[in-house]
Amino acid sequence: MSLSHLERLEAESIHILREVVAECEKPVMLYSIGKDSAVMLHLAQKAFFPGKLPFPLLHVDTTWKFREMIAFRNETARRIGAELLVHTNEEGLAQGITPFGAGSRTYTDVMKTEGLKQALNHYGFDAAFGGARRDEEKSRAKERVFSFRNAEHRWDPKNQRPEPWKLYNTRKKPGESIRVFPLSNWTEIDVWSYIAEQNIPVVPLYFAKPRPVVKRSGALIMVDDGRLPLEQGEVPEFKMVRFRTLGCYPLTGAVESEADTLDDIVTEMRESRSSERQGRLIDHDGAASMEKKKQEGYF
């Protein structure tokens, strides 16, 4: 008898989580509330059971997340008894940076990338877990499980450390830090299959429901609160939609779908002909945009 595909992935991810806790001084888990974070958190609970998480959760809040995400975040931290740190780039807020006007490019830089760096520097974390998967995007496919960042949090894709077998070199100089991706080898379908198998709670936005949306440059944007400036003649319409990926609501496109159970979602995904990141507006700025963002310190 040998382990199934999901059992193997689970055991390897737990190994990665424990390796960081054993070798790094001050780890943190970047908790972005989505399905990948849900799986990563569940794996961490398994890795350190019966103890609680030996590190806090950090959420970089841009203030533009879906309301249901924030409610779910607080509920999750309470349910598992984890320490939750929430950081917002106050300077960015003060400068009045929003997902509109200034354009999504500066917004992501300031509110997400800068916000993240501020929080990491502020608390002095030397290792940060992230839920990114290699199947998400081409430059992610090239990233190591342990991804080194210099003191400026920059990634040097041409000079990554070899990572043979399960041997991770966690040594770093003062100021340097590591981003660690325990879900590197998981695919979107693995994540959903695992959520279904393990009964992991996820944000209800992943399930189809009639929601108020407007159509913008081909994407369905949900009107989550009164802050979304409606253009002339734009009227929110109720449509049966769900989200494949979650982020800031003005930048995250919904898909029309009837899938309101985990089984339906898995079935829909198997038949799907488009990739999950299609709904994320920030990736479309150019073929290499994710690689550039990552070099600058984005997760």
Partner: protein, 526 residues
């Protein structure tokens, strides 16, 4: 990897449920421009793994960077870094994920440039299978030989030689057969047990998903068909139990567990274990998981074990079965791939990370390195980047270690430069070299009756052995004391001494406690 029982019952045409599918990890390697990235791109495309929006991007990218004119350039599905797209080469390993109805696959597309050999080796270390590409027009190149060597060195047992660009040699069977012959010689020299040679064209799609009409002289399977059905044996599961302790889980004073990923074997509560190095012993109490305690755990699982007594165990120690304990050594014979531009310095103390232990290590400078052209030894002055050689590595203390062929997790290591923190080499353990200092405690097995926990039998045996000893002493002392009464004091002293020795000996015997009967010979500790 043997397919799980539930999946073997399913008819081949039925899709296997994702949680029961087996996983095959493979790499593509070979020289620059042999078509590795194109082949992977093609395989992704043929297996229906490329989403529509990525196909649209591919179409625009192909026109901008593509090497195939207006046609789709499948390599661009894989080469993701901007430098790679601009230069049309692969720099770092790209991991891609796809599934067919029968298996899930993780493929690592590795760079062909000699400069990036370390990235290729990283990909190979975790692979079950390697696809080695050969350009039909060029035949076998030095890089084909180098990659084959690394593949065989890290223990990949299955190789597919994809003779690519058959479209450019008019699908000639003679070109193909010449390469096939030449490669079988390499496989023989390197002891690669399972080799298949397939004629393909990544660009035209021949023999990728289905047999091609343009190669009627080839009767073997298509590439995807072979990947779906090849039987890759998982290693080490029948070896004795060994788990390198990764982390000691102590949430509060009432719980102390040892967490790790099982490197080999199986374990159940009640099994007798020993800690390597050191030889302390204990019994497994529980196998603790988030989903409840388990009756058994096996190779590849991440678990937390608790023991029946307090034992001093820390990260780097290995929990191992008493019946087949892992060995410990300070000095090992190894095979090393040097990955740093900085040459090997035999005076320098490197850090070696082996399983969960990190120790200081000295690496002997070898007299020769392997010549990748002919796999013969070649004399060198200095060991530079990409050199492959055999040498001896000495650690600053005794650690649990096993030959790579017996136990991958306990037989592989990396060397780290203390100052730059760079990974300078990867290595595999060939064998353990006994050193005087490294001599572990000798263990003498008196008998091997599998006695389970039985305190009554133990007490009876203990009483009997004590009575027998006292009786013997009495037989000697009795006639003496008759002649000379003060000898009775001597008898009393001898009895006390005997009691002490008797207790000490029994304390070392497992007999009747649990597990197997073992005696340790006293005194030879390390």
């Amino acid at each position: 990897m043997v397919s799980s029982p539930s999946s073997t019952r399913i008819k081949v045409d039925d899709p296997v449920l994702p949680d029961q599918k087996t996983l095959l990890r493979f790499i593509t390697c070979g020289s620059v421009d042999d078509g590795k990235s194109s082949l992977i791109g093609r395989v992704l495309f043929e297996s229906g793994s490329v989403p529509d929006d990525q196909l649209v991007t591919l179409d625009t990218d192909s026109k901008k960077f593509g090497t195939q004119g207006a046609a789709l350039d499948y390599a661009l599905l894989v080469d993701g870094l901007s430098a790679e797209r601009e230069q049309g080469i692969t720099i770092d390993v790209a991991y891609r994920y796809f599934a067919t109805s029968k298996r899930s696959f993780i493929v690592a597309d590795t760079p062909g440039h000699e400069q990036y050999t370390r990235n290729m080796a990283t990909g190979a270390s975790n692979a079950d299978l390697a696809i080695i590409l050969v350009d039909a027009r060029k035949g076998i190149l030095p890089q084909t030989r180098r990659h084959s060597l690394i593949v065989s060195m890290v223990g990949v047992k299955n190789v597919i030689v994809a003779v690519n660009k058959m479209d450019l040699v008019d699908y000639s069977p003679f070109v193909f057969q010449a390469i096939e012959h030449a490669y079988h010689d390499i496989a023989k020299t390197l002891n690669i047990p399972n080799v298949i040679v397939i004629p393909v064209s990544a660009v035209a799609g021949d023999n990728i998903a289905a047999p091609s009409a343009r190669t009627p002289w080839y009767n073997g399977p298509s590439l995807i068909e072979y990947l779906e059905t090849v039987d890759v044996q998982s290693n080490a599961s029948d070896a004795g139990f060994a788990m390198p302790v990764q982390w000691v889980n102590r949430p509060d004073s009432s719980f102390r567990g040892y967490s790790g990923l099982i490197a080999s074997g199986r374990i159940s509560p009640g099994d007798a274990i020993t800690i390597v190095p050191g030889g302390r012993e204990a019994i497994i109490d529980r196998i603790v998981t988030f989903d409840g305690d388990r009756d058994q755990a096996m190779t590849g699982q991440s678990v937390t074990l608790t023991l029946d007594r307090e034992v001093d165990i820390s990260r780097g120690d290995v929990i191992s079965t008493i019946s087949e304990p892992v060995s410990a050594s300070k000095v090992v014979s190894t095979q090393v791939l040097w990955m740093s531009a900085e040459p090997l310095d035999p005076q320098k103390s490197y850090l070696a990370k082996l399983a969960t232990t990190t120790v200081s290590a000295l690496v002997k400078a070898p007299d020769t390195v392997l010549d990748v052209e002919n796999y013969q030894d070649k004399v060198v002055e200095k060991v530079g980047i990409n050199a492959i050689f055999k040498t001896r590595v000495s650690f600053d203390r005794l650690i649990a270690v096993a030959p790579y062929n017996n136990n991958r997790d306990l037989g592989s290591f990396i060397l780290i430069d203390r100052l730059s923190n760079e990974v300078v080499a990867l290595g595999l353990v060939d064998g353990l070299i006994p050193s005087d200092l490294g001599k572990a405690r000798t263990r003498v097995t008196l008998t091997s009756l599998p006695f389970r926990h039985d305190p009554l039998k133990r007490s009876l045996m203990k009483t009997s052995s004590f009575a027998l000893g006292t009786l013997l002493l009495g037989f000697i002392m009795w006639p003496l004391s008759l002649k000379w009464p003060p000898a009775l004091y001597g008898f009393a002293i001898a009895e006390i001494f005997f009691f002490l020795v008797h207790e000490l000996l029994w304390a070392r015997a497992r007999w009747g406690l649990a597990g197997e009967v073992k005696f340790l010979s006293a005194g030879e500790g390390i």
